[in-house]
């Protein structure tokens, strides 16, 4: 598909608007599906493929989703515009918040707010971990997941670095591979 400048601007605006009015993740992807679907720029099948791919791509899922979407529509230009629109506004805001916090975090009231916000953030991280793990604890996958989780916990207790733990997990996955397992793209994430 060949995109002209006006369409590239629309692409950037839609990604900016949909990604930066949510807290990222699947909510942003759903908004993008609606916006781009309404313009005939994305099918539901394309959305499903991008969601699966974004889960398989290292890093932040919504950024990978936006790159795949932009690439599909306008190759490099689309990918880079989508990536910039999705990441720059939030990054600027976060850097400004960090700079502000560095100036005011000595005040007791600010520290109390941070402490309470940290409890909320902890719960949100817990939800993220659960969402990652949930598709793998159903049916016959549960035993395999339990074994991998146990190995990871043992390695953490042995103070093995995270990268080595992930490599060890990949090796375990290869050793325990089951031909009957469903394709990743079909797993309900």
């Amino acid at each position: 598909m060949r995109f002209d400048k006006a369409e590239l601007r629309t692409l950037g605006w839609l990604v900016f608007y949909d990604v930066n009015r949510t807290l990222g993740g699947l909510a942003s992807m759903e908004l993008l599906r609606r916006s781009f679907g309404a313009r005939g720029w994305m099918t539901d099948e394309g959305h499903a493929l991008f969601v699966a791919l974004s889960r398989l791509t290292p890093g932040t899922n919504i950024l990978a989703y936006c790159v795949a979407l932009g690439w599909q529509l306008a190759h490099w230009r689309g990918a880079l515009i989508s990536l910039a629109a999705a990441s720059i506004p939030a990054s600027i805001l976060i850097a400004l918040l960090s700079a502000t916090l560095a100036q005011i975090d000595r005040y007791p009231l600010v520290r109390a707010i941070i402490a309470i916000a940290l409890i909320v953030a902890t719960l949100l991280v817990l939800v993220t971990a659960w969402n990652l793990l949930r598709p793998y604890i159903k049916g016959t996958n549960a035993a395999r997941t339990g074994i991998i989780a146990a190995i990871v916990v043992v390695l953490v207790l042995m103070k093995v670095t995270p990268v080595r733990i992930l490599l060890a997990a990949a090796v375990c996955g290869v050793v325990m591979a089951s031909p009957a397992a469903p394709p990743v793209a079909e797993v309900d994430r």
Partner: protein, 139 residues
Amino acid sequence: MSVIALYLLLLKATVTSFAGMGSLPQIRQDFVVTHGVITDEQLSQAVVIGRSAPGPVGAYVVAIGYFAGGWPGAIAAWLAMITPALLVIPLLTLLRQFLHLPRVRAAVDAVVIASAVLLLTSVVRMAMDSVEMLRRVFG
């Protein structure tokens, strides 16, 4: 720590994670434990800032970059955050070729499971940090 070193360390964390917050254990290992350029408290603050702002969850690494290296650090962190996303382009091509292979799929799944469990171990430390902060504020 130089900006390039900061970028490479953050890239190591983002490229080995499979969710926005998945990079947290590796970032703590490199920035708090190994190099000591930020404290556990700053790490927790970065998570709070990242979860308070709209946009990608993984953007909390920008706060890490800022705490570790000021504005140049924040820019390096932004680059480290967006770099792995570009890997989706070759993945679009490779998906149909290799992902149907059970061993490849199982390896990817195992890495996702491991990153989730690593994240859970980070939650334990964050919970302890928040209790400690509350104790210091109200104690």
